[in-house]
Symmetry: C2
Subunit: 530 residues, 2 copies
């Protein structure tokens, strides 16, 4: 069953080897988490719902608890500590677009606010119910999950937007196609959610971000349906798809989405190489991003992440051997691991990887073959499960990300890491911080930073630590001129940093679009542009 207060299925674990635990103890001190609040206890804290009855809506407190939060660390702290501040008053599971239309009409009539809900994987507070007197209805799109049509002539597929990653790929793969969109949340997140939050997948270098894959569809708004025809391209004024991409539920509910699909590639290969340090590694990925070879992935772990990953892998003889081999080849304590891959025809993949190897060697990189790439591929959607076991060991994990131009990457990484590392100095707590670059462009790169700190016995104190750290890192991003999000969106957690990049006038423009489709402001209130 899906965990109600953690990540993923509760039958799937991610055991932490003993040396990994020792590594963290050495970094952060011994951890210990207070016992989680039980589901039954949490459910008892859900207040009675003031929502008028409707055949499509349940007010069952379990449904309401399960839809009260997403997957941000703040959400976790609230769920596990029993401190979720607000709950939706009802949850609906529409099966058809007509159901969605009825639910929007109901909300308009009753004055309820509407929170669209895809897979529940938001890490920035998209799903939280706002405080206040107005009733709140969460619309869970998870049962609108079918393939409507695969148009093989035009390489387009039309889905109900609540479809999750695995179901979407299964429907396409059965017919020889793929979307190729693999965010880390792939197993739970939905097509509609990807569009609403401008998601980027692990192979975006080959397939593009969701912006490129989303060809059209239908958005159901309080003011009626918005149809987005799937033209291959158009110059007929502003493209309305771009008013929906990143709209975070504030314009309406994306009920169906047409996506651009690709014939299934013959092969996917992922390899690894190590660089002596971050400078050579970054120079190499920049050169690779600018080359015209068709790579599908470039992911460079900076030194601390490289060391952490090797430690979490459990050490042992093989890792020792690898470390010694790499040190002999010049990649010592500052070494950076690069994962790189290609997808396509067998010959193409070979050629792309051969040419990549040349650039890697030119920059002092040491190829180590397919094993780490194979491991990465196997675990690519399992990493979030690590959060569960770390929590049990007493460590909170959060990640945050930005993107910036190449010349600012180094200083931005340093500013974020310093803000986090020093963020709990006042309470004498350590923070373990590490970073990788996972989406690279000719102009710059995303920066993805993970940080771990000890959970306190008091959930309020853990929350305070998290907010301190998140705030310090977000301010560092803004100060360095990065975007507040490369791939997760704005929601509640990033909204106060948005003006820095959009400006007052820009925010007003976004508000005007939302207001046109939703004059009463009932859609996902408080998020993105309050």
């Amino acid at each position: 069953m899906k965990r109600w207060n953690g990540w993923g299925d509760d039958n799937t674990g991610y055991p932490l080897p003993q040396p990994a635990q020792a590594y963290l103890e050495q970094k952060l001190g011994r951890g210990s988490a207070p016992p989680d609040v039980a589901l039954e206890t949490a459910v008892r804290r859900v207040p009675a719902a003031p929502l008028p009855g409707h055949p499509l809506i349940t007010t069952d407190p379990v449904d309401r608890l399960l839809h009260a939060a997403g997957q941000s660390l703040g959400d976790w702290i609230n769920l596990r500590g029993g401190t979720v501040p607000c709950f939706p008053d009802g949850v609906a599971y529409p099966l058809t677009e007509d159901d969605v239309r009825q639910l929007l009409a109901y909300a308009q009539k009753t004055g309820a606010m509407v929170i669209p809900y895809g897979g529940g994987t938001s890490v920035v507070g998209h799903l939280s119910a706002p405080e206040g007197d107005r009733p709140v209805l969460t619309v869970d799109m998870g049962r609108m999950n079918g393939l409507i049509e695969l148009d093989q002539d035009n390489h387009l597929a039309d889905f109900q937007a609540g479809v999750r990653g695995p179901d979407l790929e299964a429907a396409l793969r059965a017919r020889g196609f793929t979307l190729g969109h693999y965010p880390q949340s792939f197993e739970y997140s939905t097509l509609g959610g990807w569009v609403a939050t401008r998601s980027a997948g692990q192979l975006s270098l080959a397939y593009g971000r969701i912006e490129r894959l989303f060809a059209g569809g239908r958005v159901q708004t309080p003011e009626g349906d918005l149809e987005l025809p799937a033209f291959p391209a158009s110059a007929a004024g502003p493209d309305l798809r771009d008013f929906i991409l990143g709209s975070e539920g504030k314009v309406g509910i994306i009920s169906r989405a047409t996506v651009r699909v690709t014939a299934l590639p013959e092969r996917e290969t992922f390899l690894a190489a190590f660089f002596p340090g971050p400078d050579s590694g970054m120079a190499a990925v920049r050169a690779l991003a600018r080359s015209s070879m068709s790579l599908a992935m470039l992911r460079l772990s900076l030194p601390e992440e490289t060391a952490t990953n090797l430690a979490l892998a459990g050490g042992g003889r093989l890792i020792d051997l690898l470390n010694r081999y790499l040190a002999w080849r010049g990649a010592g304590p500052d070494k950076c691991m690069l994962l790189y891959g290609a997808v396509g025809g067998g010959k193409e993949v070979n050629r792309a990887l051969r040419r990549a190897a040349v650039i890697i060697k030119e920059h002092g990189g040491v190829p180590v073959g397919a094993r780490p790439g194979h491991e990465w591929r196997k675990n690519r959607f399992r990493v979030p499960y690590l959060r569960n076991v770390l929590w049990e060991k007493g460590y909170a994990v959060d990640t945050l990300e930005t993107a910036t131009t190449w010349s600012r990457v180094e200083q931005t990484v340093a500013a974020i890491e310093t803000a986090l590392r020093d963020g709990l100095k006042e309470s004498g707590e350590q923070v373990h911080v590490f970073t990788h670059l996972s989406h690279v462009y000719p102009q710059g790169s995303s920066i993805y930073t993970s940080y771990l700190f000890r959970i306190d016995a008091d959930p309020g104190e853990t929350m305070r630590r998290w907010q301190l750290l998140k705030g310090a890192a977000s301010r560092a991003i803004v100060r360095c001129g990065g975007t507040i999000s490369h791939q997760h969106g704005v929601g509640l957690d990033h909204r106060s940093y948005l003006a820095a990049e959009k400006g007052t006038l820009g925010l007003e423009m976004i508000r005007s679009v939302c207001k046109t489709a939703d004059p009463a402001g009932i859609m996902n209130p408080g998020k993105l542009v309050p």
Copy 2:
């Protein structure tokens, strides 16, 4: 000097060989154009301007006449017949962003409406002054044409947005870079104009449309400046660049634009092949568009265009030989010419072209080598000059374009061509119509149709013919589900067809963005979304 009532520099001709003229006479009958109204006469018809004085604004009637129209066929008919209905009351040539700010303040104070003007190459009526009592100020951005900064570290270049194609490329090429954006209007159109109209260049297969190249910049609006930071990518809500792309001057004046640039390629090679008919040709370009090889251009002329191009090339022994060789290889009267090209490193270009040749041959194509590609490359920006000489011979030429999914291409081409071919039946006039596909995507293709008809002695009758044809073809596009423009925009000429693809709600969303930046509605009134 730049022609005031035609295309391009008046020292550049495009002589029409005798056999080409005979070909047109056979298709359309002998043509004859009435004498053009002289510049002096046209200038005398420009009425006195009611505009209050301002040091940055000239009310000289020559300036006002030269800014009264673009390059649509309707514009030509009016310019050459002396029937331009309205003129801007003043023209300003700002040199700095502060000048632009002053001009917008002046417009707000005096109640003037503002038409942003780039290179004057609009073919859809973007530049026409509206009728009515309110004064109209055209802001010609052509003197804001400098490179502000080439950021080699990040492959970004920041330009004043009035820079024209050749100046932009010269500034980049001197430092080893290129933008790679080559619309046919390249010699005159400007970076700001490309952004405002969602332009597509001839090599968009390699470099992308302007949507991909435009990274950020500044838009000056009546409500203040909108800054667009040049992030490599972002998920921080809707992307404001997409509110500006296609905004056609209605949000504000794009004063600077940051673009993504690429290292100059080692080589550019363009080749040609012929297919026995449109089916095999289209199947081949579709397969090529879906292959992952790095081609830079695919342009397929359908049979009538292939025949017309060969005829306009003047026939002669070489063309005869080619025709006989092709017929012998199976490409007879229905043959279709494909131009295809690649840019990049020498080895890459060779490999891409070799692999393309395999797919071409699989579809029955006959490669004919580099000569037609070389000719195309030499004349790629000269084709519009043909309009001048054809007009002198008594023939009006217009082009229109759309994009649609692959399965609709054939029926859409047929519907457009039939609408045009039969469009003047009532007056017994012939229309010569031909089409190519110039921008291909995995999901579909652009359709670019040219049509010629005889000019009448009465400019009013020529205008009536054009409006009949343009209307019939536009309705055919809408009926077939195509976009009303793939690469030219909306302006005046396409605005009544826009609701078919945007919907009422969609149009309101676009209006709301314009209104936020321009509450008084002074920016380019009547265009896009009146």
